[in-house]
Every structure is written in C-alpha cells, then in structure tokens.
C-alpha cells in the first residue's frame, strides 16, 4: 500500500527521539584511543642510537635529524618532524629497532601557525669538547671494566 513506507520511516525516527544519544561531548569527555592509535610521536632520547632508519623509512622525508659523535656513541642533536607532511603511516615507528620512536594517543596536534606544526622531539646543544673528552674517558674506563668482567658484560649486552 502506498504510504506504508512513509509511516515506517516516521516510526523509526520517532523511536530514536527518546533513545540514548551517541554523541560524545568532546572537550568534556574524551574517547579513549586504542593502544595502537597513531597519535603524536614520542621519542625516547636515551634509547635512540641516531641510526636514521626512521628517516629512511619515511615516504615523505618528514624526519630530519642531526647527529654527532660522543665517544663511540652517536647521539641526536636535533630530531625534527615536519608533521605537516606526515602521512601517519607508522613506517618510522616500525623501522625503529630500539623501540625509541613511538606513537602516543595524543590527538590534538593542531596549531594556529604553520611553522608551529613542526614537531621538535630533540633539540639539544652540541656537546662541548670537555664533554666529548669526558665521554671518551668514561668509555676507556668502561672498556677496562668490561675486559675485567667480559662474560657478564656480554650477557648484559645481549639483553640490551
């Protein structure tokens, strides 16, 4: 019969009139993002070995890093992500062997100005010559200690 569908439609909308609403009132209540959510990036400076795998994996050359040598170790001086070009594909996080680069569930990355969008994760001054010397000295001391307890150190190194 003509008109049956019209009445059925009215029934459906009437039904929703009094049911619970699905809106989440955003600034007051926030949705919990799933653990894998691709949010803002986090970088653990101590874990990072400045290998640059993440920068290589990036399809858009978002990641720019500057590194320097501190003793034998490579350390990051600057780690800047040009988020405005980021696809949030997660290749950089996947490429990271040391689990240093990670996604967090922070979703609000918007800024008023384009140049503020840039995400600077590490920005520290270049090590002074004294620091480099200290690091070298420490390394030398460490090497001596390592020679003394070679087996133990080896086991530890494998863990790391």
């Amino acid at each position: 019969m003509f008109g049956k569908g019209l009445i059925k439609g009215l029934e459906i909308t009437w039904g929703w009139l009094f049911r619970k609403k699905v809106t989440v009132e955003y600034p007051d209540k926030k949705i919990v993002m799933s653990p894998r959510y691709h949010g803002r990036f986090e970088l653990d400076q101590d874990k990072c070995i400045a290998c640059g795998l993440c920068a290589n994996a990036c399809p858009n050359k978002v990641i720019q890093l500057e590194k320097t040598k501190l003793g034998k170790k490579q350390i990051l001086l600057k780690y800047v992500m040009r988020i405005e070009y980021c696809l949030f594909c997660g290749y950089c996080v996947e490429a990271c062997n040391k689990d240093a680069l990670k996604f967090s569930s922070v979703i609000d990355m918007n800024q008023y100005f384009r140049d503020k969008v840039r995400l600077t994760l590490v920005d520290r001054p270049a090590p002074t010559p004294e620091e480099i010397a200290a690091a070298e000295a420490e390394e030398a001391a460490k090497a001596a200690a390592a020679q003394a307890a070679a087996a133990k150190a080896k086991a530890k190194g494998e863990e790391g």
């Binding site: 003509f2 569908g5 059925k8 439609g9 653990p35 894998r36 696809l87």
Partner: protein
C-alpha cells in the same frame, strides 16, 4: 517564443558532488541537454609520486585514493607487487586481509548509501549510516591505529596481528549490524518518496554497462553477474559462502539497493572468516629491501566501487619504474555524461550519487 539553453556549473564547490568534482550542465529550464563531467581537481599525481618511493613506501599513498575503503586500495597494490615478486602470503594474513577488507567495504557502502539518502534530501539516513560506520572505524583503529588511512597491508602480509580487544568488538558488530540494515531499509529504501525519486531514473542497460567497462555495484545493478570475488576468486574468497546481489532494472534504486544487500553479504563473509581464522604467521619471508625482478604485473581486486587494478612495472631497482591504478569510480564515471541527458537537475545529483564516486580515487 525564442528560448535558449543555459550553462550551469555544478561544482567543483557543490555539496552533492562528493568532493571537488565539476559537471558542466547545459540546461533547458531544468532539463539537462548536455552534461560534461570535469574531473581532475583533486589530482595529486599519486602514480608519479610512486615512482620516487620504494615499493613499500607506496602503500600509504594508495590509502589516499579511495579513502572510504583504504584497506581495499592497499590490497590492490600489494597484490600486484606480490604477484611481481612471487610472494606466497601466509594463510592467516589472507584471512586478516579478507576481514579488514570486507569491513572496509561495509564502511564504504555505508557512506555510499547514507550520502545517497542525503543527496535525495533525507539527511537523517546520512547520520544513521555514519553512526554505524563509526563502529567499523573503531575496530579498524584497534587493528591498524588509524581511522581512515590505514596503511595496514604490507607486501607479503599485514602489519600487525589482530589485538585481543578486536574479537569481542567485531562479534558485537556482527550481532548488531543486521538490525541497522533493517533500519536503513525502513527509513530510506522503503520510503515511497525515495523510490519515486530513484526508480527508473538513470537506467544503464546491460549492454551499455559492458561497453563502458563499468564495474562493481554499478555493473551489477544492471543485472550482470560479475563480481571478482566470485568470478575469479583471489586470496581466499573461494572458501566463503556468499551471494552476489543483482539488480534487474539498472536504475538508481537498484544500484543503491545492491549496496545494502552487499553489506549483509560482506557481514556473512566476515563472520565465516572469523570462524575459519587459522593460526600462523602474518608476514611472508620478505627481504628488507624489496627488489622485484625486472618485469611487470597486474592484479585486480573487487573494491567497494568496482574492479580496482594495480599495474606495476619494475626495472629491478628498489623503486617501481611505473605504477598505474585502474580506479573503478573514474571508469564508472565515463558514462555519467550520457546518463544525465534528458533528466532534471535533481536527477543529476541522484545519478551521480548512485554511481558512488570518491574524488580521491577519480583524480588519483
């Protein structure tokens, strides 16, 4: 009395062209004399961009084509590269691909049906489908970490296994979704005004559908039984029991209705795939740096809009020499100009909506 036709620019900034799409209409009053589709406003040169990326790095770009069903776009490209390199994908990965692919298809069809209801004028249908699409996006977010541009597929498998919280969520969705479909049927499909607007409007004859190389729901709406998943089963689709819904008139209503029916079938596939989901690895043994042998490969999948094909040419280097995508909505759009002739302005919107284009894919 001397009368003359006038030109109306429908788009690129028009709420019903589903993005930045332009149709130049030659109108006689409200009747269309000639319609000229003008695509290209969203062209980003993905095919060219791909030539400067390694094989794996192309995947995030394929997401940006049909962003309503990003998983399926991933799949098409990945399948072509796998074919080129002769990679055998582990079974569990295939099942995961089927599950996320079908969920993506449902999400895409939800947008198509909801936006179609919005095009016809019933905005409530639009909100209802988006409400239920949110559940799918939540699930896909659990799996891949993103809500729209997933980049979840990898050459030789998928990025990560299903998390534990995915299974109860999908179970809940499978239970809930058929009633949602009934709701759409009641609110949109069954509505007489909707039927009056869409039935016998924009009829595509089966011959024309074949001649214009249409695919997907647009082709099946004309009654031609061609679904890649059944006709030439790829991946593990031959193991599932599902039907291919067909239309009989080839009008807008059939094209719309097929999408609703297909959602139900996709849900059946998801259900079966979850039952059969085997244990095992999710990635094949693939070298770190992909260097396919020189040659080319073409792979096709059934995306939500039609046949999505990816053609990859390799010169042996880590970067593809040439990538080409057969984008279904672009090819389906080829018939639009002819289809619109003789109909009213409102019908142009109805016909365009029934073809279900995504501009990211049309312009690539």
């Amino acid at each position: 009395m001397k009368t003359q036709t006038y030109t109306l620019n429908l788009g690129p900034q028009h709420p019903s062209t589903h993005g930045v799409f332009q149709i130049v209409l030659e109108l006689d009053g409200e009747t269309v004399v000639k319609a000229t589709p003008v695509p290209g406003y969203l062209h980003r040169g993905i095919e060219k961009l791909a030539e400067a990326r390694t094989y794996a790095q192309v995947i995030p770009y394929t997401d940006r084509m049909d962003y309503m069903a990003g998983m399926l776009m991933n799949w098409g490209y990945v399948a072509a590269v796998e074919k080129l390199m002769g990679i055998e994908v582990p079974e569990r990965a295939e099942y995961i691909r089927v599950i996320v692919g079908e969920l993506s298809r449902i999400a895409s069809h939800l947008i198509a049906t909801g936006a179609y209801a919005g095009d016809i004028g019933g905005l409530t249908g639009f909100i209802y489908t988006f409400r239920d699409r949110e559940d799918i996006l939540d699930m896909l977010e659990m799996i891949s970490g993103s809500r729209m541009t997933f980049s979840y597929f990898r050459i030789g498998g998928v990025a990560e296994d299903f998390p534990a919280e995915f299974f109860p969520a999908v179970k809940k969705f499978i239970e809930k979704f058929p009633s949602c479909c009934d709701e759409y049927d009641g609110l949109i499909t069954g509505n007489e005004i909707f039927q009056v607007r869409t039935k016998k409007v924009g009829v595509i004859t089966p011959e024309a559908a074949i001649n214009y190389s249409l695919s997907g729901p647009v082709l099946r709406g004309s009654g031609i039984n061609y679904d890649m998943r059944k006709a030439r089963p790829y991946s593990v689709y031959d193991r599932f029991d599902f039907e291919v819904p067909l239309g009989c008139n080839g009008d807008c209503f059939d094209r719309y209705r097929i999408r609703i029916l297909e959602m139900r079938q996709s849900l059946r596939i998801v259900e079966q795939a979850l039952e059969q989901l085997p244990e095992g690895p999710i990635m094949a043994k693939v070298p770190k740096v992909l260097k396919p042998p020189a040659g080319d490969a073409y792979a096709e999948i059934e995306s939500s809009k039609g046949l999505f094909g990816a053609y990859v040419v390799s010169d042996g280097s880590p970067k593809p020499y040439r990538v080409h995508f057969r984008r279904p909505s672009f090819i389906n759009l080829g018939y639009l100009g002819k289809l619109c002739e003789g109909w009213k302005i409102a019908d142009v919107i109805a016909i365009l909506g029934s073809i279900d284009i995504v501009l990211g894919e049309v312009d690539c």
